[in-house]
Amino acid sequence: MSAEPVEEAASIPARRRQAEEATLGRALAAIAGIVVAWNALLWGVGLWERLWWLALFGNFVMVVVAAERVGRVVPPRGRAAYERTLAFGFPLLALVAWELIVRGGILNPLWFPPPTRIAQALWDVTVNFDRFSETSLIGRPWLIPEKFGAEGWAGVWSLFAESHVWATLGRVFAGFVIGSIPGILLGVVMGVNQTVRLMLDTTLSAIYVLPKIAIFPIVMLMFADPFGEGPKIVVVALSVFFLVTINTMAGVRDIDPVFIMAGRNYGAKGLSLYRHVIIPAALPVIFAGLRLSLGTALIVIISVEFLRAKQGVGYMTFYYWEVLSPEKMYAGLAVVMAIGVILTYGLQWMQKKAMPWQRG
């Protein structure tokens, strides 16, 4: 008896979907018609080439309309797949449009080399060793067995040492660790202790807004080898340090006092209060700070490598600009983006491990 109305209710969205499905074909055909008519109109009056961005904007709007129309018939079970298709399908579509527009001679391939040529360039810098700068993109890992056989671990190390990606990753990682650990410690102290906070807050905020790349020359002077790894890592660490400190402080100050009271009332004191209450309560904001500073670290290291490096993804990008090889320059940019995405996902993974209590 009681199951009946529930079943009926369950069939309502299904029936709605069926009705939408019945008209889907016609709707999509109409949308396709509009797209064709719109482009033909611009083409016919000879304006497509000059107003290609306007044409593409119109097409974009119609793609959105079509995707939403399809979205209405997607059953709940197919929802995840539908969302993935949108998230990854659209960038793919944009790449195809880019390719076609450059090949059609509308955009200058010197500024905007087509994606296929960039992919080709990416392949080139990956498999080939650049004799002039004595580098390769990822250090040709397929040579590891051969090098190991010939020169042992030193050979394997020489492969890592020739890599742009490993050079950049190493600097980011070292700077990130060296900057974030003291940053978290100082941030917690400033969040808990009002005296320390009042004394340091103004100074930190002032240094925080300073572009860290502007400190780079001074940092170089402090090192015996100004062109070595030291100054590069320190600049990354500095930029990470201030961001993490300020965020950690905000996170600790934002803790609901009732948690501190509960912790103390139930016997937490000293270190155990930090371990069981203060740190976990501030952790979401601390991680937000870490994520921000990871992005900043990448920006800083690429800028530093533009300025002063013999290796690294930033160096590679700038180097191929100097020798006017735009495909390879774009390849460098693509690698920077890939590093950014991978590092961010890595941090998100860590966040999930560190905070299993967070929803989602």
Partner: protein, 264 residues
């Protein structure tokens, strides 16, 4: 009867004064209250009467400006003097339900086995056994407050301090939890100081109801509640209950409107 044994809580002329830019403001004035062993005392008053401040000072989370508060330790020195149930639950979101319940025991260095056993006993008592591994965001407000209450009970304190524990719950959940509190108290007979702004709740639960005035908070009147135990939710339907409520409310109503006028 209860007066023969020395009182569990002795507070004398407790005063709390806050320094503000506009000069000192008294939150609590010359508040004296003794609570006997195993007594359930409810404190009622308009908002701003300092009842939560008093509870915090009882819990040792705040210090009186003058006056003394003392909780007499029991025979077992390992027992904590007091445990607080907060209005905002204050259940730690980063700990599972069972970790929250066992928190006090963990802080006092009890073994893992003992912690688990005590926590599971209390979870069973309030029907939360199968939520032991859940995180607080996965359970309802009423369940969170149950966790908060049994976190205090599992700690087995000399005195249980409750600061409007049911204030944030909806009316139905509240009734269910009042009933549950009555049942648990009948069995444990803990000394309880219970802050509430609900007169019904105070009469239903308490052996004594303390009425407070606002600005500054002072003790206004004490009412002994002689309703028969064990009580249940149905106790509220007794004619004596209504009579008591009428009598106390007549005194409280004036205080509430005076407090509201002062706030404007």
């Amino acid at each position: 009867m209860a007066t023969e044994a020395p009182p569990r809580i002795v507070s004398r002329d407790v005063t709390k004064v806050y320094e503000t830019l506009r000069g000192p403001v008294a939150g609590l004035m010359d508040f004296s209250l003794d609570v006997g062993d195993g007594e359930f005392v409810c404190v009622v008053g308009p908002s701003g009467c300092g009842k939560s401040t008093y509870l915090r000072m009882l819990a040792g989370l705040d210090r009186p400006t003058s006056g003394t508060i003392e909780i007499r330790p029991g025979d077992d020195p390992g027992k904590p003097l007091n445990s607080v149930v907060f209005q905002e639950y204050a259940v730690f979101p980063w700990k599972t339900v069972i970790e929250n319940v066992a928190f006090g025991l963990e802080m006092r260095g009890r073994s893992k086995a003992e912690r688990t056993e005590r926590a599971e006993y209390w979870l069973e008592r309030v029907g939360l056994r199968k939520f032991a591994g859940h995180y607080p965001h996965q359970i309802s407000g009423g369940m969170k407050q149950r966790v908060s209450i049994i976190r205090a009970l599992a700690n087995d304190p000399e005195v249980l301090l409750m600061d409007e524990p049911l204030g944030a719950l909806d009316a139905q959940t509240r009734i269910v939890l009042q009933d549950e509190l009555l049942r648990i108290w009948e069995e444990t007979r803990k000394t309880v100081v219970y802050i509430t702004h609900s007169l019904d709740e105070a009469i239903l639960l308490g052996d004594r109801v303390i009425l407070m005035s606002a600005h500054p908070g002072r003790l206004l009147e004490t009412y002994r509640i002689d309703l028969e135990r064990p009580r249940t939710i149905d106790t509220m339907n007794l004619p004596e209950f209504g009579e008591l409520r009428g009598r106390i409310w007549a005194r409280l109503a004036g205080e509430v409107s005076r407090a509201m006028e002062q706030q404007e």
